[in-house]
């Protein structure tokens, strides 16, 4: 499929041969191989440079940014809002906002990727919160837990090999969380619950919900070996 090949081509670090791919032995839950880290840094630098050019109105740079990030923007929106048409709307709004506010991206505050995905994620959760009442979403929590795994498989079908590897790393990272922490971060991140709504849905005090979310995220961060 043309899109898939295109994703491969521009994900930079995708190796020419299986031999140069991060080997199983290096692919620990705690970090990445040096090659993969370097590739990530290169990609981050590329995204930051594209953001700078986009901020000056360079549509060609933005087009390249689209190529690199539209899958992540759309995929995240889709996971949160569930409906493909809604996800397409959210993705479009998010990408236009990236264009419109590109000059506000501050490299010293974080990576271009997290800036872009924060815009996308916030729009997705805003949409989900306005489209559904909290009661509906709390009821959905139980039903969807069963379907979670099946959905993961389906959404990975179109991904390049490198994206599959990233997904595996994230799953491994999430695996280091306690069940309660995982539940809390998933409610917040994947379902767009506010921490107050999550506390209610989980039947725990607000402080407990906040702590589980923070502790869970810290574990994920450490498992992924996030550099700062």
């Amino acid at each position: 499929m043309p899109d898939e090949r295109r994703l491969r081509a521009v994900n930079g670090a995708v190796p020419a041969s299986p031999a140069s791919a991060p080997s199983g032995a290096d692919r620990t839950a705690e970090g990445q191989s040096p090659d993969a880290r370097a590739a990530d840094r290169e990609r981050a630098a590329r995204l930051a440079a594209l953001m700078q050019r986009t901020a000056r109105g360079d549509t060609q740079a933005f087009d390249e940014l689209y190529t690199l990030m539209s899958g992540a923007v759309y995929g995240l929106a889709l996971r949160v809002v569930r409906d493909p048409h809604l996800a397409e709307d959210v993705a479009q709004e998010a990408l236009v906002e990236v264009w419109r506010t590109a000059a506000r991206f501050q490299p010293e505050r974080g990576t271009a990727r997290s800036w872009i995905l924060t815009i996308a994620h916030r729009r997705a959760v805003d949409r989900v919160r306005s489209e559904q009442s909290q009661a509906d979403r709390a009821a959905q929590v139980a039903v969807e837990a069963e379907h979670a795994e099946a959905t993961d498989e389906h959404e990975l079908v179109l991904d390049s090999m490198q994206l599959e590897w990233r997904a595996a790393r994230v799953r491994a990272g999430l695996g280091t969380l306690t069940a309660l922490q995982r539940e809390a971060v998933e409610l917040a991140f994947l379902k767009g619950f506010t921490h107050t709504e999550a506390a209610t849905a989980l039947g725990v005090p607000l402080g407990t919900a906040k702590a589980r979310i923070r502790d869970g995220l810290i574990k994920l961060r450490d498992a992924l070996g996030v550099e700062r």
């Binding site: 499929m1 899109d3 898939e4 994703l7 000056r56 109105g57 549509t59 933005f62 689209y66 539209s70 899958g71 992540a72 759309y74 995929g75 995240l76 889709l78 397409e88 236009v96 264009w99 419109r100 506010t101 590109a102 000059a103 506000r104 501050q106 505050r109 974080g110 990576t111 990727r113 997290s114 995905l117 994620h121 916030r122 959404e155 990975l156 991904d159 994206l163 990233r166 997904a167 790393r169 990272g173 971060v185 917040a188 991140f189 767009g192 506010t194 999550a198 005090p205 607000l206 402080g207 906040k210 589980r212 979310i213 923070r214 995220l217 994920l220 961060r221 992924l224 996030v226 700062r228």
Partner: protein, 260 residues
């Protein structure tokens, strides 16, 4: 049981919002409060950056090819979407500052005899407030800090010796102050320049020299720009249309002039 009930958290507890912040799990007012906290807390900034990055890695792991039609739809929309300036402040915060300036100005009016130009300045400030509520975007020169610029604008338009003149770029004014040695140009209803072009301000001095000022773009017709200037020697102000990034000499069409 402590419950926020949508109220303000005591300062020592604001850090506890950091996890939900990184996952966009805060109500808008909570997010704003936490972002203000981030401005003052390097430790939280550091941690928030790491947690947000972890969330981004998680988010990106969910990537799936976007529908083919999305690219064209996005590119078409951005072609008609002006870009914002590097302002780091929400419009609401600027509005609060502007309203403060308006009130200070009104107090000054009451305490002394108000010549016509002061009324003009008050109107200018009130106008600015209206524009700020509508989501005004500043366009500072690259080396200027946008916070400092907002303050400079505020001080210029409310300076005791500020002079206002009409500028025919939509419905616009320039405000000059010798005390501040600065010029502000602002307006609404300004047309967009052609693609690849920007407006540029020029300072024409009494001796005829032409000094290049900042470039600026309207957003929904609204614009505001600020430049230091030796106002005592300033003859008039000019706006022309120049290639994006500006020019050293006016090369494009002169669209407006204001005599001070």
């Amino acid at each position: 049981m402590t419950h926020d009930a949508g109220g303000l958290l005591p300062p020592e507890e604001i850090h506890t919002l950091i996890g939900p912040y990184a996952l966009d799990a805060l109500e808008p007012h909570e997010r704003e409060a936490f972002e203000r906290h981030l401005d003052d807390c390097p430790e939280c900034r550091e941690e928030a950056a790491g947690l947000t990055e972890a969330a981004a890695e998680w988010g990106e792991s969910l990537a799936t090819a976007a529908p083919e039609a999305l690219r064209a739809a996005v590119m078409q929309e951005i072609a008609r979407t002006p870009q914002a300036s590097p302002s780091s402040h929400a419009p609401e915060r600027m509005r609060a500052r502007v309203m403060g300036a308006v009130e200070a100005d009104a107090r000054r009016d009451r305490r002394r005899f108000a010549p016509t130009w002061l009324v003009g300045v008050a109107a200018g400030v009130a106008f600015l407030a209206t524009v700020a509520v509508g989501g005004l975007l500043l366009r500072p020169a690259p080396e200027q800090d946008s916070v400092a610029m907002e303050q400079d604008v505020m001080m210029t338009i409310s300076a005791p010796d500020a002079v206002t003149a009409d500028l025919e770029l939509g419905s616009a004014h320039v405000v000059c102050s010798e005390k501040m040695d600065a010029v502000v140009a602002m307006g609404t209803g300004a047309p967009m320049p052609d693609e690849g072009m920007e407006y540029q301000l020029w300072l024409v001095m009494d001796d005829g020299t032409m000094e290049p000022g900042p470039t600026f773009m309207p957003a929904d017709g609204e614009f505001m720009t600020y430049t230091p200037a030796h106002v005592a020697d300033l003859h008039h102000i000019m706006v022309s249309v120049e290639p994006a990034g500006g020019s050293d000499q006016p090369s494009g069409e002169v669209v407006a002039e204001a005599t001070v």
